[in-house]
């Protein structure tokens, strides 16, 4: 469902982030993206939801080439992808319920359907009872769970997570990981950039290591492979 063919990315400041990358990820896979900082991990992730677009090469998501997609159609791509960020990116003025509902309001879903689905995902992440609270009243782990809830509320085929445990303590990190496992078990593709070696080594999945804008290693059930 995700296919990169010779993807090359050069930023205006001259830095080459991806240097002809080839990769294929199938529906339902769970993939860790690892590698040192500045190796092209973030660019790789950002390309998935078209925050960046390739300088050259083909980048297919669900059969659509993101290199050629029109700017005005980008929102439609994003509606089919859930994104989770290291810093949660919740709207501070909205409460938990509204934050999750937001992703459905944007796609003009029916109010009854929104209500039903939002409560469903809040239940899934175990925070239904905090629906009326505001992000600032929640712990980091809870905020990230809300953010995960938002990413899956419109049942995307793929969830992309950019260091989702980066700001969390080990224990809450495991909660988040368990959540991802469950989402993956229901058939959703998970693509996760991470620096957390313990997680990668414990919950074994496909590992793609990126170095110098190229894939250095790609093994199913691999380990983190970097020291520290």
């Amino acid at each position: 469902m995700i296919q990169m063919k010779n993807v090359y990315k050069k930023y205006p400041n001259g830095i080459v982030a991806l240097n002809g990358m080839n990769v294929e990820i199938k529906q339902g896979e769970f993939v860790y993206i690892v590698g040192p900082s500045g190796a092209g991990k973030s660019t790789f992730i950002k390309m998935m939801y078209r925050e960046e677009s390739p300088t050259s090469g083909q980048m297919l998501v669900n059969g659509v080439d993101l290199a050629k997609i029109k700017r005005k159609n980008v929102p439609l791509l994003r509606r089919q992808i859930g994104v989770v960020f290291q810093d949660f990116k919740l709207l501070p003025r909205l409460n938990v319920y509204e934050n999750v509902a937001f992703a459905l309001e944007v796609i003009e879903e029916k109010p009854e359907a929104i209500r039903k689905r939002v409560l469903e995902v809040l239940d899934l992440v175990g925070l239904k009872h905090k629906a009326r609270m505001f992000p600032r009243e929640l712990s980091g782990g809870e905020q990230q769970r809300i953010s995960v809830a938002r990413s899956i509320v419109n049942t995307p085929k793929v969830v992309i997570a950019d260091e989702p445990t980066g700001n969390l303590d080990p224990e809450t990190s495991w909660d988040i990981m368990n959540l991802f496992e469950r989402i993956n078990a229901s058939g959703t593709t998970i693509l996760m950039a991470t620096h957390n070696r313990e997680i990668v080594n414990t919950m074994r999945h496909r590992v793609i290591a990126i170095e110098g804008g190229l894939i250095a290693r790609d093994e199913v059930g691999g380990d983190y492979g970097y020291e520290g």
């Binding site: 925050e51 709207l91 003025r93 992703a103 944007v106």
Partner: protein
């Protein structure tokens, strides 16, 4: 792999529009001081613009009246008898560019004078020093001069008067006034637009994060933009209320109290009724336009997420 349906539908659902309205109103309240600042800027600008428009439209009216009022006063010499007067009248009427000819005897002239300047003039009734007069009106103000020349050559015409020179000067003056006013109005509107777009930009910068998230969960540009544009519209609307009220009050007083005095000077201002409502509508439209345009311009660069 099934292809995605990647076509943006531009049709917006009614409840989404309701949401946008709600959001824009909420935002007005949340940005309290910025709202106040923008509304004040619009208010001051529109008030100035409104006053300018009132003045200009009336100058225009007065100028038009004067233009159309230019009459050639042709004095009939004492030697001309009644038969000659009739001849002259037909002669003038047959001239090209003449719209109307009115004959006024010297007795009528005197009674007009008494009416305008007081009883003292009735002393002259014993020995009327005035002459009979033809009041001639040209079809076009520009033809006045030619017609006057032609009339003055008729036998039995003592002299003609039509405010030579002065009229032209007045016209140039009025034209300059019109142009200066127009430039000032445009400058004011531009300033207000700039102020609004700046204010909205500040509120947008504060909400950049929010816009980014909206874009990341798949909001279209219009979905993000419309609440801001509506907010601009409210700013414009709110900013036009006070100017409209003040201008209506001002013009009411002008027409009610100043007009009677001005009538003596042969100046007739535009009537209160349809005119002031047209100006009000204009101010409202300008307010809404600068509000919408201001937000539109300032949100553009924040949508590139």
């Amino acid at each position: 792999m099934p292809g995605m349906k990647l076509e943006v539908t531009t049709a917006m659902k009614a409840r989404t529009l309701t949401r946008h309205f709600r959001e824009s109103l909420k935002s007005l309240g949340r940005n309290g001081w910025m709202t106040f600042a923008s509304v004040s800027a619009v208010t001051v600008t529109l008030l100035l613009v409104g006053v300018f428009v009132l003045i200009m439209m009336n100058l225009n009216k007065v100028a038009d009246d004067l233009e159309n009022d230019v009459e050639i006063k042709s004095f009939v010499s004492l030697e001309a008898d009644e038969a000659r007067v009739t001849e002259m009248e037909t002669a003038i009427k047959s001239m090209s560019g003449v719209e109307s000819v009115n004959y006024s005897t010297k007795e009528e002239e005197l009674s007009d004078l008494v009416l305008d300047f007081g009883k003292e003039f009735s002393l002259f009734e014993q020995n009327n020093p005035l002459l009979d007069v033809f009041y001639v009106k040209a079809t076009e103000p520009q033809q006045t001069e030619n017609v006057a020349k032609e009339i003055s050559q008729l036998e039995g015409i003592e002299k003609v008067k039509y405010g030579e020179g002065k009229i032209e000067k007045l016209f140039t003056f009025l034209n300059t006034g019109r142009n200066v006013g127009l430039v000032l109005i445009l400058a004011l509107l531009f300033t207000a637009m700039f102020l609004i777009s700046n204010t909205i930009r500040i509120t947008i910068v504060a909400r950049r994060h929010e816009i980014e998230i909206m874009k990341l969960v798949g909001a279209t540009n219009w979905f993000v933009r419309i609440p801001f544009i509506l907010e601009g519209m409210w700013l414009g609307l709110l900013g036009s209320i006070l100017p409209i009220g003040l201008i209506i009050a001002l013009y009411y007083n002008v027409t009610e109290f100043a007009q009677p005095k001005l009538s003596g000077e042969m100046i007739q201002l535009l009537d209160f009724a349809p005119f002031i409502y047209q100006v009000s509508a204009l101010i409202l439209l300008m307010g809404v336009f600068i509000g919408i345009w201001g937000s539109f311009m300032s949100i553009r660069k924040f949508l590139r997420v």
